[in-house]
Subunit: 184 residues, 2 copies
């Protein structure tokens, strides 16, 4: 079992493109929960503000610990170009990209901060060219939620699944049959 | 690269509990796409019929191949008890369960057919007792979509990501920067 703070690595932030208020509130919430649970440092939801999502995720972080950040409302292209200007690298998850097993070693070997981009239904063609790596989690139609989860699991060498979060008010205790939650 | 038909294994079917028509249409569609892309044989959406989901997924299967099945409308408890009566085993994905890395070997070692249960917001307490294994993909609040994706990736030894689907009308060709789709 490792703690988030003890693991030495660069920043990894998720960028959610194309969130549509109302329609995507549940799916984008799932993207945020996945990013947080699997060890990303934060998420940027581009172009819009959606208070329901920010409130939900900040409440989860307060209860279950860690320091997951959410930023909203900035144009997506601005986030991507700023990230690159600061020396970071950009991964774009898309069914059209290079299969994860073929490319993960190269991504892991690069020591720059990573921005991991996940789209909603339509991603602007420009994104495929701005990305350093277009990565596919299967070349099948899939969900950006599971693609992100699987990518992060591989990115962190399958070691993120039992990570403990610091400063948690609640902690789930693994149980064979039932539910157990404690206040540490 | 392996093809789905060439891989010898028992049946694995996903059971989606608690789907609420309207509210969950997008998330349940993501659950279905994830199940199909990662190599499950089919999905059962319990208790309700939601034609939009069935139509979407059947269209994807027709275009991208394979023989993914969808069954809807049966009470969830009936599906679980029938599965067990027929000698199959039941995995329930829940943040309260035993961590995936600790339990996956035991699940892989069992040769019975598997029913993999994923809930929506509230799962009846009875489910925790009907399951042979309650499995957590992190003990954090997470999405059932990414939990399912990561579970299937581990279940199939990380070999499902480059699987080819037979009888596809369309096939995505992995590309560094852009989109390429061919008719095989």
């Amino acid at each position: 079992m490792t703690t988030k703070t003890a693991r030495s690595r660069n920043q990894l932030v998720v960028l959610r493109l194309g969130h549509r208020i109302q329609r995507d509130v549940r799916v984008t919430t799932h993207v945020c929960l996945t990013a947080r649970a699997l060890g990303a440092d934060g998420i940027i939801i581009s172009d819009v503000h959606d208070r329901r999502i920010t409130d939900t995720i900040n409440r989860v972080t307060k209860q279950f610990g860690g320091s997951f950040t959410i930023e909203t409302g900035k144009p997506w292209r601005h986030s991507v170009t700023e990230w690159k200007k600061a020396g970071g690298r950009v991964v774009h998850l898309t069914a059209y990209g290079i299969p994860l097993p073929e490319i993960i070693e190269r991504i892991r070997a690069s020591h720059e901060n990573k921005l991991v981009v996940v789209g909603a239904e339509k991603v602007p063609g420009e994104m495929f060219h701005l990305a350093d790596w277009n990565v596919s989690v299967t070349n099948q139609p899939i969900s950006e939620v599971s693609a992100l989860g699987i990518f992060l699991d591989w990115m962190f060498n399958h070691r993120g699944l039992q990570e403990e979060f610091p400063n948690a008010a609640l902690r789930i205790v693994p149980t064979e049959h039932g539910k157990r939650v404690v206040r540490p």
